[in-house]
Symmetry: C2
């Protein structure tokens, strides 16, 4: 029996894709309505705060996904080296091998950043901290780990921009493969088995 109650969990991914593809300003209620399959009235029933609330909840869900699938394994995984490799794989899949951009990055570059400064900052910081933690647990010094982690953030975001700019998703996949190699090479020299 089909349930009449629409779940937030079913709506948010559809809204997320609109924000990703069109940016905050470009994501109109008409597009959000079409993508979610809900009329504007229904959208306002779920999100009385309108577009801003929709974007905020989308960002929160993204953060939650990364927390579970990427940050926690990096922070708590038994094998940090394996967690790093898994992070690369998860990012490859999440960003659809460079064919999907990062909403947090899109928001960060736009005028809407001011309205979402906290979640945007937290996302990048938490990811970098989690990766640095894993690198430390592999034997790198705190300073080196932090530097390598920040570097990895740059590469991932930059690869998404360039892949879109050159219309060549392979740029992203190649950058992720290189990044993996570089991070693991660091470990090999820091803590040779």
């Amino acid at each position: 029996m089909a349930k009449t109650i629409t779940e937030r969990a079913d709506i948010l991914p559809a809204l997320a894709e609109v924000f990703r593809a069109h940016g905050y300003e470009g994501a109109t209620l008409a597009l959000l309505s079409e993508a979610s399959g809900l009329g504007k009235g229904s959208l306002y029933h779920f999100f009385p705060g309108g577009k801003e609330q929709m974007c905020a909840e989308v960002l929160a869900e993204i953060d939650s996904w990364f927390e579970t699938n990427i940050f926690q394994p990096l922070l708590k995984g038994e094998d940090p080296e394996e967690a790093i490799a898994a992070m690369i794989g998860a990012a490859e899949r999440y960003f659809k091998s460079g064919r999907r951009v990062c909403l947090v990055g899109v928001v960060a570059l736009g005028a809407a950043r001011d309205a979402f400064a906290e979640p945007v900052r937290a996302y990048f910081k938490r990811w970098a901290d989690a990766l640095a933690s894993a690198l430390r647990r592999c034997g790198l010094s705190a300073a080196t780990a932090r530097r390598r982690a920040e570097d990895a953030m740059l590469v991932i975001q930059g690869a998404l921009v360039i892949a879109r700019g050159l219309d060549d998703p392979k740029v992203f996949s190649r950058a992720m493969a290189d990044l993996k190699g570089r991070l693991l090479a660091d470990l090999a020299s820091a803590a040779p088995a």
Copy 2:
């Protein structure tokens, strides 16, 4: 005597800042009018094609600036190593040490990319090719030069995203300093004096 003819050269930089700060969709004619100091009527006198023409001409002017100040020195400079160092310095200044984002990157991530796919693609490709050319002239192999150049593009764009996301321009300056060191280290090992 003040000239009554408004020069395109005076308008375009003002329009550019609006597109940079708000993205293509977020750059409204009201904002463009305010920033340029011209009424909407005047803007349409200069740009009959409206917003799309304004953005196209802004992108063309940006491309022209990079061609003169960055690409040509990399391609034709007598000392390629110095040209690379100069490129880093010019980028630092152009992006105001990370406080200004790259319009081409912003457009690349948004829905407007399809309308400006060619200039966006050309900008990144030409920059990467020019840098690769300089690296080759320093003694690196074609394959290594291309790889290092593409990597540099990622780092620059990524650093702009992360600097904005973390609201910390120093991330950009640090990334540029590291990039410079890495590129020059490559040269030292490839062509020791």
